[in-house]
């Protein structure tokens, strides 16, 4: 039996931010979406280290995840984390080449899998915008009244051929705006949060990437940051704590778009486990919703 959406949770969501997993399920249930959570999957694998170190292993592992989606009767693989999206989309794109796919399938076949090339990978906000925008607008009875700075994660700048490079981010912004948020311009939208650089040079990553970004957000009066990338959320939350050692203090709440949507459609904050965040998200939510 076919299921329309197969959700790929990745690693960070279940093990670092289960609050995002809760929000995904509650929103998809509230929408009445035909979805399933992909099972038996592995790390996407994460697109920075694995792909650089060993592109062959990266592609075979990503192809296995795509093959699982086919086996589990999924039409579209929906990815709530931008990092996972990049990895799986790039793999989907690479495996459009039949010769490459045959090569990868030679390995997969030894483990009982075959990727036929039928899966389309989409980011969660893209699906919500494309298939549920008007329904969500109707359901947004508890507007998320906050001044929001969106961090446009680098991984999502992966357009399909002929697609505008900003399309996914524009849709994400429109979605957040339709939930009642005031989306601010802050000039450093396209600036990386510094997560990849943190692996090599934490001080550079924090002082030269994260701090300027937070400064520009604060300068325009942002009350919180919204981003769909779990690595970026980690960088913003962990980074704000680590910046204190350099005498730089921010206390900016960081949320995933699905949490903003969940709150706006009336899911109670106490059901979302927002205290998992290491930034003052519960305080912000209390200010908005009392």
């Amino acid at each position: 039996m076919m299921v329309k959406y197969g959700i790929f949770l990745g690693c960070f969501i279940p093990f670092r931010y289960p609050c995002v997993e809760v929000a995904i399920k509650k929103v998809m249930d509230a929408l009445g979406a035909d979805y399933t959570i992909l099972t038996d999957y592995t790390c996407c694998p994460e697109p920075m280290l694995t792909r650089l170190v060993d592109p062959d292993f990266w592609l075979v592992t990503a192809a296995r995840n795509l093959a699982l989606a086919e086996e589990q009767g999924v039409k579209e693989l929906v990815v709530p984390c931008c990092g996972c999206y990049e990895s799986l989309y790039e793999a989907e794109h690479a495996l459009e080449d039949k010769e490459k796919r045959d090569e990868v399938n030679q390995v997969l076949s030894k483990f009982g899998h075959e990727y036929k090339g039928t899966i389309r990978v989409e980011c969660l906000t893209g699906i919500l915008y494309r298939d549920f925008m008007s329904k969500l607008e109707e359901m947004a009875t508890k507007p998320f009244r906050a001044r929001v700075a969106i961090h446009y994660c680098c991984h999502l700048f992966r357009p399909r051929p002929g697609e505008d490079i900003w399309l996914k981010h524009d849709r994400s912004r429109d979605l957040i705006r339709s939930m009642g948020a005031e989306v601010l311009r802050y000039k450093l939208e396209r600036f990386c949060c510094g997560f990849p650089a943190f692996q090599v040079d934490p001080e550079f990553s924090l002082k030269e990437r994260l701090a300027p970004k937070l400064a520009s957000m604060r300068a325009v009066g942002a009350e919180c940051v919204v981003t769909a990338c779990m690595a970026c959320i980690t960088q913003f939350e962990r980074g704000q704590v680590m910046l204190r050692r350099y005498g730089i203090r921010y206390n900016m709440p960081i949320l995933h778009p699905i949490e903003v949507i969940a709150l706006a459609i009336g899911i109670k904050p106490e059901e979302l486990g927002l205290e998992v965040h290491r930034s003052p998200v519960p305080e912000l939510v209390k200010r908005i919703y009392g």
Binding site: L9, C11, F12, P14, F15, R16, P18, C19, E21, V22, I37, L38, T39, D40, Y41, T42, C43, P45, E46, L49, T50, V53, D54, D56, F57, V60, T61, R64, V107, K110, F111, Q199, V200, G273, V276
Partner: protein, 219 residues
């Protein structure tokens, strides 16, 4: 003797002991075997023709292993037997009973790289007595930068890029989620599949992951 003919004869003589055999030109053959099959491979190569002549051994420090390449001229075609010696062990059989001329170069490799040839006479060739440095030996390093090593181990252990704690599993339960998400790590048989896949693709070898010890071979 042409490379194709040599390759056929070696396949016949060594069968499954051959890890890889290539004949990129008419006059060149590369034969890769395990370290423990070196003696059989050298006997097979030296037995290809009465005129077979041992040439030399090249040593290449690859970081985690030292590759030894034994070159033999077989009637105008150079046959190279390739083995890898893990740096954790650094012992390999002395082949001077098969090719007496090997003794000279084995002593040189021992002096410069620290590879021990079991059965080789103890006298040094180049470096003075009491000098224990191995001038051409590189540090024990694989291809992963230090920052990436913990993550690679976690990836191999759990097929997941983050470590899993009991605290987060409890938190998941508190939130009404199953303590373990439906990932590969939830099922031992699926994890076994992932490990085998990492071996099959060559990932474990390329990054220097010891599957039995479940850790990288370098810190």
């Amino acid at each position: 003797m042409r490379a194709g003919e040599i390759a056929s004869k070696l396949k016949e003589a060594l069968g499954p002991k051959i890890l890889k055999i290539e004949a990129p030109t008419e006059r060149r053959v590369f034969l890769t075997v395990k370290e423990e099959d070196l003696e059989d491979a050298m006997k097979a190569v030296m037995g290809l023709a009465r005129e077979a002549r041992f040439m030399t051994i090249s040593a290449v420090d690859e970081g985690l292993d030292v590759e030894l390449l034994y070159h033999v001229d077989v009637k105008g075609t150079v046959v190279t037997v390739r083995i890898k010696v893990p740096k954790e062990e650094m012992e390999v059989l002395d082949i001077s009973h098969i090719a007496p001329a090997a003794e000279f170069i084995e002593r040189e490799i021992r002096d410069l790289f620290g590879v021990e040839f079991v059965g080789l006479k103890p006298e040094k060739l180049y470096t003075p007595e009491g000098y224990e440095e191995k001038p051409l030996r590189k540090p024990m390093e694989g291809r992963l930068p230090p920052q990436a090593r913990p993550m690679a181990e976690v990836l191999m252990e759990s097929a997941c890029s983050v470590s899993v704690s009991r605290a987060v599993m409890r938190k998941r339960e508190d939130l009404g989620l199953s303590p373990m998400p439906p990932m590969a790590m939830a099922k031992p048989e699926v994890m076994e599949e992932i490990r085998k896949m990492a071996i099959e693709t060559g990932f474990t070898e390329r990054v220097g992951y010891d599957v039995e010890k479940k850790r990288l071979r370098y810190r």
